[in-house]
């Protein structure tokens, strides 16, 4: 019987670029920037890396297909490099590949890198992503905010909420992330709009206004992973380990079967249950101390608080407005680095960017936004649309915890 991933793999080093509209950088520049920080943090040379996973979602906007672009950009020593893509979970998937390789004992040291270069499309927003020749026949056209906005209408209907109450809580979600992001030198957006500005912003996809949507950013994040024993042998004292690593994909039930009401994420709930079990967490509201969730849109973060079983069902609005997820005095601070909302969302890099924040917090290296007593951090990604998606999740902590 498999025992799960808990404490089998340690993070030896991490790197992350400044996120944003990096018109100055191509994808190879971004990879070099993150990887240089990561190598230096790990204290190893490139020749020590035995296998690598390259996460990139929209390959046509970055460097084309296959994993070779990363191998070339980083001059990797002819090691196996695998490209993974699982929409917005791509970064987490790259991490999972590297972590599993180490856990399997196949290699001692592996690299996971997530990269996205979105700002060469020539227009704002995400590039067009096809549903394939069959899907294009019948799926409605949509934008990313449009499909996540669906959650808001179904959530409001389920809980019989006035639109204004939901919108107010969504505004607090974004307000909080802007407050946090302004403290992060690597964040894409550092401005601090007021609640009134957020509520009054132009509508993108009802009820999501401009400030309910995350940034479309360029960026890269990476991690070098190894066993806790090797990490110690490299002189790491506070060894940060993986406590859980889960992915859950939709199987068509949400969009196709009446048993789903459109107001929550089936995959997040499935992945969370498995992740808590893998990490040995019984009461996430008490035990998880920080969150980086997939706040592609404010409403996504709101329902995710319930899907992670941290807020009770129907209770996210109260928790949010009570400041439960705020950095100051919040019980479980969420998006401490600014989140997708303000750190930015280079699709393939986001999962690793979240893990990077957990890693910094656990090592007391988070600067102005450092939390007190961080112990267990949960990261969460969602790719696709609420009705059909993939969820990626990790729980990161110290080996000693």
């Amino acid at each position: 019987m498999a025992g799960g991933i808990k404490d089998k793999v340690a993070i030896l080093g991490m790197g992350c670029t400044r996120f944003g509209e990096r018109f100055d950088c191509g994808p190879d520049d971004l990879m070099f920037e993150a990887f240089t920080e990561c190598l230096s943090d790990a204290g190893i040379g490139v020749e020590t890396i035995q296998a690598a996973w390259y996460g990139n979602c929209v390959s046509g906007e970055s460097m084309g297909g296959s994993a070779t672009p990363m191998s070339v950009a980083l001059r990797l020593p002819n090691i196996p490099v695998t490209r993974v893509e699982n929409m917005c979970c791509t970064g987490t998937e790259a991490f999972r590949g590297a972590v599993y390789a180490v856990a399997a004992g196949a290699v001692d040291i592996a690299l996971a890198l997530g990269i996205e270069k979105l700002k060469d499309t020539g227009f704002s927003g995400l590039p067009f992503i096809s549903m394939g020749p069959k899907g294009d026949l019948w799926w409605s056209d949509f934008s990313a905010p449009g499909v996540f906005a669906q959650l808001a209408s179904a959530y409001a209907a389920k809980h019989n909420l006035p639109k204004e109450d939901l919108k107010r809580a969504m505004a607090h979600v974004s307000w909080k992330s802007h407050q946090n992001g302004s403290l992060n030198p690597k964040a894409h957006l550092k401005n601090r709009p007021s609640i009134e500005q957020i509520l009054g912003a132009p509508m993108i996809a009802e009820p999501l206004g401009l400030y309910d949507c995350c940034g479309v950013s360029d960026g890269c994040a990476c991690a070098i992973v190894t066993t806790p024993e090797i990490a110690r042998s490299f002189g790491k004292k506070d060894v940060v380990t993986v406590k859980a690593l889960q992915v859950a994909n939709s199987n068509g039930r949400e969009i196709g079967h009446q048993s789903w009401d459109g107001s929550y994420l089936v995959t997040t709930r499935a992945a969370a249950k498995r992740a808590y079990e893998e990490a040995g967490i019984r009461n996430p509201r008490e035990e998880i101390t920080m969150l980086e969730v997939h706040d592609c849109f404010s409403i996504t973060e709101l329902v995710t608080m319930e899907d992670l079983f941290i807020s009770p069902e129907g209770g996210a609005i109260k928790d949010i407005l009570d400041g439960f997820y705020d950095r100051h005095d919040g019980k479980v601070p969420c998006q401490v680095d600014g989140g997708l909302k303000c750190f930015g969302h280079p699709i393939g890099a986001s999962g690793l960017r979240m893990i990077y924040e957990m890693y910094l917090q656990l090592l007391d290296r988070a600067g102005d936004r450092q939390l007190k007593n961080s112990r267990l951090g949960l990261t969460h990604n969602l790719g696709g649309l609420p009705a059909q998606n993939v969820c990626g999740m990790s729980i990161i902590g110290r080996l000693s915890d």
């Binding site: 949509f142 449009g146 808001a152 409001a156 009802e206 079967h257």
Partner: protein, 488 residues
């Protein structure tokens, strides 16, 4: 010839109505005389409608309660086919889920096509070949013309056969004359019209009375026996002069639906016929004229069966449930007459892949999902494994058509970021009364009033338009059930 006639009828007028005044205001600097036609509205296709989609909707209006298996042929008359070489009537047949051995035929090339095709279809139907006859037009006119104001978009459908006749075909006369009142040559986008007084004098006033006299002589009908006289003509007063010359009492002249609809091209005699049948009583004589390179004149006599039939909605209901569009620029844009900058996002859409569409053509063209024969779950699209998590039976599904089912909105949004040629894009998850659901595009949906649980119905529309290849794909969209008023 066996007794043959109309056994069911239906019509369609798009929900959008262009305010004529808005068009006049934009163009009267070119031609102040346009003011003469500034009253009321004309019907206009939404950006996702064309002659094929209107014909499908008219046929569905007609075919309520009709056994589709009884239909042997489908004829489609139009002068505005979306495809010049790809049979348009076959698209309609597939959308309606007709038998795959139904004989299909497109009829074109004249404003008389609608009536000439009908005569031909009646002859086919007389040979025990039950025929669905549909006609639709959405004519393109240059900006700033009177015809732009006088024309409209619309469709009509008739089921023709020897059983259940509610209007019996009495006879017809066709005169052919190479009279070039207007023409549209190969590759031209617009018609060229010649002097209206000449068309009136040498065309309508000379040819139509000849045809009617021949019809009366052939059938033995007296002019005063005519209960309903149907004659489309956008030239003012022509109908009245013809009726007077031939001896048809003026009160028998049918309204040409200029208010709210406009002349729907080659479909218009049929649109007016459907409008007439909706209020006709048993044993009334209907005489109908089609004009274009000659004249068709047809006579029908209603039977007692007419009281027992009503279309799903009919022309009158469609006319009563319109939405006035005062933005003339939208009308131009929907007809691809003005180049709007839709941004780079609009360029990104992938090209249609007919090989992929063909693989599932019946499912997507006719909105056929699957019904699991083990657990009964109805789902869309049909899949190898049942979507019910409690069942998951393999290869257990039979066809189940959802096109005529109503649905409710599970979730929705009004999307101002996604490209739409008629922004904002409104879409959401809909759930059919039988349980199947998918992420559907909404059309004819007011962004201000859309709500969760609102009842929706399905309509056949253009899904994607590829301007460079001049190709279009069709699929079903959801529209508020309340748009069209009550069904009969």
């Amino acid at each position: 010839m066996n007794d043959v006639g109309i056994s069911a009828y239906g019509g369609y007028v798009p929900r959008l109505r262009l305010s004529r005044e808005s068009a006049v205001r934009a163009n009267d600097w070119v031609d102040p005389s346009l003011m003469m036609n500034a009253k009321s509205e004309r019907s206009m296709c939404d950006v996702d409608e064309d002659s094929v989609t209107m014909a499908v909707e008219a046929a569905r209006d007609c075919l309520q309660g009709v056994d589709l298996g009884s239909l042997d042929s489908l004829y489609f008359a139009s002068t505005t086919f979306p495809f010049l070489d790809r049979q348009n009537s076959t698209i309609i047949a597939e959308a309606l889920a007709l038998k795959d051995d139904v004989e299909t035929l497109d009829i074109a090339s004249s404003q008389r096509a609608g009536t000439s095709g009908l005569i031909c279809a009646l002859k086919t139907a007389a040979n025990s070949c039950t025929t669905l006859y549909v006609s639709a037009d959405c004519r393109k006119t240059k900006a700033g013309t009177a015809n732009e104001l006088l024309f409209g978009d619309g469709a009509a459908a008739l089921a023709l056969g020897t059983q259940g006749i509610l209007a019996k075909f009495i006879g017809s006369v066709s005169l052919n004359r190479d009279f070039v009142d207007h023409f549209r040559g190969d590759g031209s986008r617009y018609d060229t019209y010649f002097e209206q007084r000449w068309i009136r004098e040498e065309g309508y006033l000379r040819m139509v009375p000849d045809a009617l006299q021949a019809l009366f002589k052939k059938t033995g009908i007296a002019p005063e026996d005519v209960t309903h006289f149907i004659m489309p003509c956008v030239i003012r007063g022509v109908r009245e002069v013809v009726a007077k010359r031939i001896g048809i009492p003026p009160e028998r002249i049918r309204n040409d639906l200029a208010a709210g609809c406009g002349e729907t091209g080659t479909a218009h005699p049929l649109v007016m016929l459907v409008d007439t049948l909706e209020e006709a009583k048993p044993d009334e004589m209907i005489v109908m004229v089609g004009f274009g390179q000659g004249v068709d004149a047809l006579a029908f006599r209603t039977t007692s069966t007419i009281d027992g039939f009503a279309p799903r909605r009919g022309i009158k209901n469609h006319l009563a449930n319109g939405v006035v569009e005062k933005n003339y620029q939208k009308f131009l844009s929907f007809r691809n007459m003005v180049e709007i900058d839709w941004g780079m996002r609009a360029e990104a859409a992938p090209k249609a892949r007919p090989s992929a569409a063909w693989r599932k053509h019946k499912e997507y063209n006719a909105l056929v999902g699957g019904r699991c024969m083990r657990c009964g779950t109805i789902q869309f699209p049909m899949a190898h494994i049942c979507v019910n998590p409690e069942c998951q039976a393999r290869d257990s599904q039979e066809n189940y058509r959802l096109a005529d089912s109503t649905a409710r909105i599970v979730s929705y949004t009004v999307d101002r970021l996604a490209y739409s040629p008629h922004p904002p894009l409104v879409f959401g998850i809909i759930e059919f009364e039988e349980g199947a659901r998918f992420l559907a595009q909404f059309t004819g949906c007011d962004p201000e009033t859309v709500t969760v649980d609102a009842p929706m119905e399905m309509v056949f529309r253009i899904k994607k338009m590829e301007r460079e290849r001049n190709f279009r794909t069709y699929f079903w969209k959801a529209t508020p059930l309340t748009n069209r008023g009550k069904e009969k």
